[in-house]
Structure formats: C-alpha cells, structure tokens
C-alpha cells in the first residue's frame, strides 16, 4: 500500500512547480498552463484523501475543480485573444494598464 504522504508530497511538488511557473514565466499562456498544473496538484490531493479516508467527498470536489478549470481556461484564453488583438503584448510584465 502506497503511503498517503507519498501522494501528498507528489501533489505538493507539482503545486510548487506550477507556482514557480506563474512567478517566473513572462508568457501569458504559459502562466495559464501553470495554473492548470496547480489545479491538477490539488486534484491529486483531493482524490488521494478521498481514497484513504473512504469517502466520496474528495472525488466530488475534484470533479468541480475540473469544471471550474474549464471555465477559467475559456475566459482566460478569451482575455489573451483580446489583449493580443489590441497589439499590447503577450508578456505579463508589459500588461500593466491597470497598475498605478
């Protein structure tokens, strides 16, 4: 039986990978992909706890996370298209119109 801490450690490493991606990359689309990595890490955690504690609640939460991820991807990519059409840039440091 694989210990639960192995799953938690795996999901934690994946979460940190995604967080690093959000922080150090400049390309807007790669930043969104890193958010997807973080959501997947959270899913692994939820499903692992659901399995080891014999409860369906974790799997339900993971399903809803996947649904939210789909909505987030659609709206985020639409925003990227709008920003790119305005000839601003796809780099996150150059999109600073709302910064004061």
């Amino acid at each position: 039986m694989i210990p639960l801490s192995a799953y938690v450690a795996l999901s934690f490493i994946l979460f940190m990978t995604g967080l690093l991606g959000v922080l150090i990359r400049r390309n807007f689309i790669i930043v969104l992909m890193s958010v997807e990595i973080m959501l997947n890490a959270a899913n692994i955690n939820l499903v692992a706890f659901s399995h080891y504690l014999s409860s369906m609640a974790g799997q339900m939460a993971a399903l809803f996370v996947i649904a939210i991820a789909a909505g987030e991807a659609a709206v985020g990519l639409a925003i990227i298209i709008v920003v790119f059409r305005g000839k601003i840039a796809t780099n996150v440091d150059q999109i600073n119109l709302l910064k004061w």
């Binding site: 934690f12 994946l14 969104l32 692994i44 692992a48 409860s55 789909a70 990227i80 780099n91 440091d93």
Partner: protein, 178 residues
C-alpha cells in the same frame, strides 16, 4: 509491488512533465508536456480507484481544455522569445525552493488520520465507481452541481463576449438614401 512501480512511473513522469511545462521555450512544446502531465495524473487517478475521474480527466482536460490552449497558440502564432523569464526570476526561484524544502519536511512528518467515511472500496466496487459517483453527485451535491452549471453558462457567455470581433458602426452605402 506492481502498485509501487506504477506509482513511481506516474509520479516521476508527471513531475518531469510539469518541470518541462514551465521550462521549455516554445509554447507549443509546453502545451505538449502539459498534455503528458495530464495523462499521467489520470493514471494516478486509476491507482486511487477513481475511474470516473480518470475518464473525465482524459476527456475534459486532455481532450477539451488542452485543445483550446493549442488552438489559441496556433491562432496567435507566438514567436519563441529570447528573454522568456521574468526579470526578477532568481528571487522567486529562491523563495520557491525554500518553501518547497520546508513544506516537504512537514508533509513527511505529519501523521495523517481522520474520520473514515462509508465509501470503502468494497462498497464502491459492488455497484461500480461511476455509479457511486453519480449517486453521490445527484443526491448530496445536487445544489453544487446546478451552481456549476450556471457558472459554466456564465463562462461561455463571458468568453464569447470577450473574444467577439469588435464591429464598429457600419459605414452606410452612399447614394441609396434619396
């Protein structure tokens, strides 16, 4: 024994593909390594007796969301950039690695326990995992299910409104208004 081998394979490949996703320069390559990550996470779901989530992960994540990303990448035809990292990335890298090390120690020291639920593998396997997920979703989580439906409708409308081609006032054809 087989479980350990499979877990090691899925875990190693998903971590490596996660690192490739944030480290490769070409955005299309990043998307493809994200695909590999999603497929191997789906494999982990099978190890955890979550067959329905395995199917949803493959169909929705790898099939729909990732194709959306690749579509936008091809639509925008981004060039591979020279300076692809954020300006202050060494600072973020250092902070990230420090937090990673500290929390990994915590993860392995914590004794995990909690109140056990009723959905043990024997109970679930009597009717099948997808059946159990469906019964739970449409009884205990019905309100959440409906809320997610409304949320997805809002996301669709928002995406359409945002990405619609802006059409200015149409110039009127001359000479036809006598």
């Amino acid at each position: 024994m087989m479980m350990y081998v499979l877990f090691g394979y899925f875990a190693t490949v998903s971590i490596l593909s996660g690192i490739f996703t944030i480290a490769l320069k070409n955005p299309v390559h990043c998307g493809l390594s994200l695909l590999s990550l999603l497929l191997h996470v789906a494999g982990l779901f099978v190890l955890l007796n979550a067959e329905f989530l395995f199917a949803v992960q493959i169909i929705v994540y790898a099939g729909a969301i990732l194709v959306l990303y690749l579509f936008v990448l091809m639509l925008l035809s981004l060039k591979t950039e020279e300076q692809y990292l954020h300006k202050k990335y060494p600072f973020f890298l250092f902070a990230g690695v420090a937090i990673l090390a500290e929390l990994l120690i915590l993860v392995f020291q914590t004794p995990y326990s909690g109140a056990k639920g009723t959905a043990t593998p024997e109970v679930v396997l009597q009717t099948g995992p997808s059946h159990a997920v469906g019964i739970t979703m449409f009884s205990d989580y019905l309100l959440l299910f409906e809320i997610v439906g409304v949320f997805l409708l809002g996301a669709i409308i928002g995406a359409i409104v945002l990405a619609k081609t802006p059409t200015g006032p149409v110039p009127e054809p001359t000479g036809q208004r006598e």
